[in-house]
Symmetry: C2
Subunit: 336 residues, 2 copies
Amino acid sequence: MPERVGKYTIMLNNKPSIRSYASVAGKKESEGPLRKYFDHIYMDTSIGGLSWEKAESEMQKKAVKLALDKANLKANDINYIFAGDLLNQSMASVFALKDFNIPYIGLFGACSTMAEALSMSCIFVESKCANKCIAVTSSHFCCAERQFRFPLEYGGQRTTTAQWTVTASGATVICKNQDNLPYVESITMGKICDLNIKDANNMGAAMAPAAYDTIKKHLDDTQTDIQDYDMIFTGDLGLIGSELLRKLLLLDGVDITNKHKDCGVMIYNTKKQDTHAGGSGCGCCASVLCSYILNKLQNREFKNILFVATGALMSTTSSQQGESIPGVAHLLNIKA
Amino acid sequence: MPERVGKYTIMLNNKPSIRSYASVAGKKESEGPLRKYFDHIYMDTSIGGLSWEKAESEMQKKAVKLALDKANLKANDINYIFAGDLLNQSMASVFALKDFNIPYIGLFGACSTMAEALSMSCIFVESKCANKCIAVTSSHFCCAERQFRFPLEYGGQRTTTAQWTVTASGATVICKNQDNLPYVESITMGKICDLNIKDANNMGAAMAPAAYDTIKKHLDDTQTDIQDYDMIFTGDLGLIGSELLRKLLLLDGVDITNKHKDCGVMIYNTKKQDTHAGGSGCGCCASVLCSYILNKLQNREFKNILFVATGALMSTTSSQQGESIPGVAHLLNIKA
């Protein structure tokens, strides 16, 4: 049964397992360093060409189907699906998942949504509210860009601090503990942190304080230190947010330099691919988790990692009204 | 500990209690039949006048503060806050809650969000992931109208099937079972139902099949029938959706006519107040639950009710692309 440890952390004593995981990605993502880890690549990311939003739904649907196939399960075996995305009213998830006939729990945590979905799935399985759950999120450059920034045809110049919305989706099936599968041991859900960053082209800076806050709380609650972990994966701070996070932790004497990777930095050859500060979007850390990270956990190359997904909680309306961009970060300790 | 009953229902054997509840509402809502049940009325719903979105955040903040006060608790006593609203990227919730310093779990289920938030809060408390949680949602006519339909200044004519977005917010504090408090006994989370309704001015019709599906599953799973309940409260089907729900259930021989009320119908004198098919919005069933319904449960006028919140999962983008409006409904059995 779950147990509270410290003030913010939930220990999952039954250690729910990640029974399967699947990732799909677009052309640009396939040109980055993680190509071989993705289960499916779309060379034409319009996927049918009806709309970019429908294309994102198709990707999410595919990720769920692949995760079910790899787990040798049918949709009917799943008790709940936890999902979300960046689009207004989560339309990518709604239209992706409506035909699966699985009870649907919609989430919104911006780019942190995958950690939120995974946390809820694990808590439901841990507490016996469910036998099996799916956590899935997605993002698509073309619909995110036109919703949050400019029409695609505009071709506006991007600042060096801007991040590139990843076209990808990642899905996992969570079940009761089974031998030889990666499992989730503990969860620290974060609070909203707002340091008054207002630049929608510098989301890394907006999210770094949230990542710092959640990591600190997790270390305090579990009385562990960085040396106990093989790696700390954040997503999606990008180059600038990652540097800020390292500096913030260093002020507390916590040095993550050699143990830290950010999903937004990992997914592209940022310089070669002209993605400036790196990738972002709900599909970024979801697809990196459901490809590279879980693969290395399954192979026991990593045995104990922190997965810290960060979200920039902004809308075009709040930005136009001069509001700041609050951040949030949720953390899972995943072991093999 | 929680236990699965039937295929879709979670039985909460520890029976988490609703320790406190609070509702705030606007001027139009105060002119309806539920005025005396609301904790706070805003006669000027611009609340400071900076923007309609900020006004909605203020309402949500107020509802949380009132619920905390009534429970004699501080924000620091709360482990998680589950929240959501209708605005793009849930901006009303984010800006309402960012200064409470409570770990934040963002949800999106359109008008069903209150049932989603309440379910998550109860499951977290039941399974000992939390000692105390808050569930809160809100909506505001002015920002919903301009986001989903027309600029307020346009003064477009409304169809008779249209619903009126409620300006209100409701919040509850959930804690371990305590004597003499209303408690949640079981939860049935719904799947997405899509009967291809495309009229954004007839959301009742889009949501009725989801309410039907979730109620049927709950009755089947718990082997109860309508006679076992004092009342079934849906929200927000409005006049048209309510009639459709009754007809759908009657086809199965289930007659709810004398036991059914809909929050969207209850909150206004629909004819006198010119609200056509009734109220809608995340704040509608939240404020009716956190005023009239919980009041009557606390006074033992009701002892056993079903609260079935329904959501129309549409965005302007999906509607403009000719998509249908899928519905979802989540159900809680609340007892006194």
